[in-house]
Symmetry: C2
Subunit: 259 residues, 2 copies
DNA sequence: TTAATTGTTCGCGAGAAGCAAACGGTCTCA
DNA sequence: TGAGACCGTTTGCTTCTCGCGAACAATTAA
């Protein structure tokens, strides 16, 4: 079984570490901040915040610029490392580029972590539209084609755990909002091999996703192609694109077994 | 003045936070590890390591997979954010892609932080060679063309501070190894507008870099083109490429003033 | 000059955090 | 089928850390 079964509520925590995590979170939300501002925001003394920031700066997790502290580029380094640890990352990236060029649309790659979906790559073809998603972005799994493709590969109990943890927040009126609806949808995905998003996230945006079946390392991922409803309709939407996406997923799977 | 003047030796630290930072560092070096392994490596009790890992997992900085803890993809998210905070990032990225296509070589973008250079983007043209550098990678500034281009824009006292902090470790026999040599080199860069790397880092690899003059936010960066000595020689190396790189840097500067 | 901001330093007391040891798994090998 | 040797996890206890408040510089504004 992958990751922590449910959220581990038990066990001791280290308060000081929690404070530093909160500081990083706050620095991100505020695009950098000073000691006093953080102290007020987190309801802690200035002295506390100060010693934490100094420690974090020592370790190059934050940078001090004049009198403002900001998130350091060290995160870029570690983030890039984290991506590289995903064994199918390189193969998938190449395949996505090909897919984007072939279709002219946007191709994306998502993996599951902590019960949510993380975008790991985005390739844009000639006619690619702008999408709100960016690499690193975390989305709930039940409300995107990529997410549903991933969920379709997980054992039912894991899906239950994820719902318990994150719920089924409703993005738009088309989002699945009950467990039954979701499990039905996942069954359909398993049967057809692809997941669809028909304007469920954004008006006018359609999306076709296929899971990457690769239980190795308990890592579950999916790839997709997105585009405007005007181009995503008829045979192209229901036959051509699903076939292309599934084909790409297949190639990745084959390459992955050789790792 | 940007960042901390010299390393801030003074002030209090938070030991617990330091331990967590060490854990993350260790997880990265070891590509994930268990509690016992970390406890031994960091010379701490298992209980301590465990409570730290639990806290870090709560905050999604690490993931527990079976009995191994690993660096989480949350770093991808924060890293991507950190990049986006660099105001010239988007403009430079576009310009790099153009540069790579036009020359067929490798084009790169580096900024300074904590006295070292961080690669933020890499674009590859048709004939691009493989280079060891990757996005997020941190290099000493004195031993690459990009680094020297950056240093040439910093006030002398800042350069002194950086040398005090990091020294001038010698990569190859061609690396500058004394302060005088370095300051002479920087003077040349300022005069010519470009910095060269003539097989100083790697046998057979040459590189031309130009600083991006843009004091805004105290952010200093540079862009470069790298390629094999076989193609980087004669007029192309000493005139054509320097001109192209400087031109690109100029375009970025102009676009940057409009931010 | 004064007043109101900063960030920084410091002494102190409370409680957090680190340790050791015990506990409950799982796996291997006899 | 056990014994033993790992593993991660839990728990009490003691100590020393760390968070607080207040004082201290250093800017900035009025």
């Amino acid at each position: 079984m992958s990751e922590t079964p449910g959220e581990a509520e038990s066990g001791r925590r280290v308060q000081a570490v929690q404070i530093s995590c909160d500081i990083i979170q706050a620095l991100r939300e505020k695009d950098g901040a000073g000691v006093s501002e953080l102290a007020e925001h987190l309801d802690r003394s200035k002295a506390t915040i100060h010693s934490h920031l100094t420690t974090l700066a020592d370790n190059e997790f934050v940078v001090k610029r004049d009198d403002s502290y900001e998130i350091s580029l060290r995160f870029v380094d570690i983030g890039e490392y984290a991506k590289s640890q995903v064994d199918i990352y390189e193969v998938t990236k190449k395949e996505l580029e090909r897919l984007a060029e072939e279709t002219g649309e946007v191709a994306q790659f998502m993996v599951e972590e902590h019960g949510r979906g993380v975008y790991l790559h985005k390739a844009s073809g000639k006619n690619a539209i702008q999408t709100a998603s960016y690499v690193g972005n975390r989305k709930y799994l039940h409300c995107t084609a990529l997410g549903k493709a991933i969920l379709s590969q997980l054992p039912e109990e894991r899906v239950e755990q994820i719902i318990d943890r994150h719920g089924l927040p409703q993005r738009t009126e088309n989002t699945v909002s009950t467990r039954e609806e979701l499990f039905d949808a996942l069954e359909t995905v398993r049967r057809e091999g692809v997941a669809y998003d028909d304007e469920e996230v954004l008006q006018g945006l359609r999306c076709v996703a296929a899971p990457i079946k690769h239980a190795n390392g308990d890592l579950h991922g999916a790839i997709s192609i997105s585009g405007p409803t005007s181009r995503f309709k008829g045979d192209r939407f229901h036959e051509e694109l699903p076939e292309v996406v599934q084909g790409a997923a297949n190639i990745i799977e084959v390459n992955a077994t050789q790792l």
